[in-house]
Assembly symmetry: none
Homo-oligomer: 161 residues x 2
Amino acid sequence: MIGRPAYQRVADDLRSQIVSGALPVGQPLPSTARLVEHYEVSTTVVRAAIKKLQNEGLVYGQPGKAVYVRTTPDQSRDARIGLEDLARDLSELRDEVSGLSGQRSPSDVDELREEVDELRRTVGLLQTRLIDLYARTGQPYPHDEARRTETGERRRASGDR
Amino acid sequence: MIGRPAYQRVADDLRSQIVSGALPVGQPLPSTARLVEHYEVSTTVVRAAIKKLQNEGLVYGQPGKAVYVRTTPDQSRDARIGLEDLARDLSELRDEVSGLSGQRSPSDVDELREEVDELRRTVGLLQTRLIDLYARTGQPYPHDEARRTETGERRRASGDR
DNA sequence: GCCCATTTGTTCGTATGTATA
DNA sequence: TTATACATACGAACAAATGGG
């Protein structure tokens, strides 16, 4: 039971199915009971995973009916890159980081490095979106320069490797 | 029992306390047990409310310690935040992550955990600024409301249960 | 119109793991 | 070691909405 929490793994799996097209837009997800059977976890875990995807804006639920796929991340990115996407990606990023902070065993270092790699890709993607967002607002993106400005309480060195 | 769900009412109350300054930045929220006593609800409701505030970026939890107030919407508004700040912070974030991926020695696990902690705070700060950016563009930050827009709006007033 | 099964959403109580002090 | 606290997880119950007899 090491690694990310179960509900995050279920959410990841469902999200990947949405991205891959295995769960098309408009399609209902399997019911909570079905997902409990399939993933062999409790209803709590499935509910938490669904809630997470709802917070990300990928799916929406209709009481009495089902939970439906709203969009795919790729679709929304191609269609209209905006603050919403940044917000969603940032939300995912925080979940990843909070998951990272839980690990500590030396035997998990490899897995941790793997997740940090993923984290780095995510941050890069975020920056790409921000650049695009700049373009849409008419302002030029301040490449490289303008780093290390005031803000006072910035983190102590620690980086720069 | 009427009106909004209990966990949303608890979240609303805590949020208003943060905005009003009754819960200053950096201050720990009462523990889950205390909140259970005060609001006379179950731990599930309190946990859901905390989770909601965490998703909104207003608070962050530290296992074994407490849940702390990260910021208030008003405070971040005074800071004059724009896309440039987001870009700069994102750039720094990328630097931190790329530095992290280089580490691998088991003896550095402690230090690595420390930096991941820092990383988590940075991501939270990013989200706070993004929330403010939303406010200044006039749009509301998409927490988890504004669903139901698919079915042709049911229940707009939220008070019918 | 009324019952009934299914499904989402909410709430309860409890247990366990992990982090902090 | 002990105690407190957050985070995750399990199981159960109920309300509300939906749709089919």
